[in-house]
């Protein structure tokens, strides 16, 4: 299967997953929000349980699929850069209220103007960052 076909298939599965969570539980599949709410907030019991279940499903099934397809790929960035990148992603997704899944996949699906703006901005800022790194600073 060509990579664009695999991308399309993977995308449709992600879209179906987000649809199931909305149809069954009435929730938005925003992974940054789900993660930070589960790990860092005090929630009433039932409010934490579904979030941990979503994360468990994501990590267990995703981890197994990753192993099964033999693609345990690493980030090409050096250790310190990966750490700084993590800080920025944590800070930015909380401040901006979502990431590629919440704003990108679900927000655009709901035709949310906020999500559309956020998605355009983080894709543009990611592209600008890679441009500066690879074509101005000359990193790999």
């Amino acid at each position: 299967m060509a990579s664009w076909q695999a991308g399309l298939l993977g995308g449709v599965l992600i879209g179906i997953a987000a649809t199931l969570l909305l149809l069954l539980n009435g929730r938005i599949a925003g992974v940054s929000g789900i993660t930070f709410n589960a790990a860092l907030q005090r929630n009433p019991r039932g409010e934490s349980a579904w979030r941990w279940a979503f994360l468990a499903g994501l990590m267990i099934a995703g981890g197994i699929a990753m192993r099964a397809t033999g693609q345990v790929a690493l980030s090409p960035a050096p250790f310190a850069v990966v750490a700084v990148a993590g800080l920025l992603v944590g800070y930015g997704t909380r401040l901006g209220g979502g990431c590629t899944s919440g704003h990108g996949v679900c927000g655009i699906g709901r035709m949310s103007k906020r999500s559309l703006v956020a998605t355009v901005l983080f894709v543009a800022s990611g592209m600008a960052t890679v441009f500066v790194l690879r074509h101005v600073a000359g990193a790999a």
């Binding site: 995308g11 449709v12 649809t19 990753m66 699906g109 800022s125 441009f131």
Partner: protein, 143 residues
């Protein structure tokens, strides 16, 4: 119990979709962001597949009075494009472009054994804690 099983199923499907789509490989993600290099359109295909599906399916789902296992839909109600949204999205994009990781794929990477994800995930949680601390300070002393 139903809600928990539903979330588990949705998470599992989401994780498998990310792997099949190639999103758990930071090189694929960075290849999409590298518009001036050898551009890799895979992430665009994933986004089209995912948003195409949600854009159609959400319409039907949201026509219902309520979700199957809950009394109400829990949707964001805030609609303003404000400074926090803009700054947050730009900061997130910089981090995304530096390492090729965003929250969902990096969690899968951590579970699958990619050690760079083990560096990224704690840093990401720390970033979220920092943001909350700044938010609290701002609430106490409005600028």
């Amino acid at each position: 119990m139903n809600r928990i099983l539903a979330a588990l199923l949705a998470g599992a499907l989401f994780g498998v979709g990310l792997v099949i789509g190639g999103m758990t490989d930071p090189d694929v993600v960075l290849g999409f962001l590298d518009v001036a290099g050898e551009w890799n359109p895979t992430l665009l295909c994933v986004m089209l597949g995912a948003t195409g599906t949600t854009a159609i399916a959400f319409r039907f789902v949201l026509r219902r009075d309520r979700p199957v296992f809950d009394a109400d839909f829990h949707l964001p109600t805030y609609t303003l494009v404000d400074r926090d949204l803009v700054v947050g999205a730009v900061v997130f994009g910089v981090g995304w472009g530096l390492a090729g990781y965003c929250p969902a794929p990096v969690l899968v990477g951590a579970a699958g054994g990619a050690w760079t994800a083990w560096v990224f995930v704690p840093a990401m949680l720390l970033g979220a804690v920092l943001q909350r601390a700044v938010l609290k300070r701002r609430a106490v002393s409005p600028a």
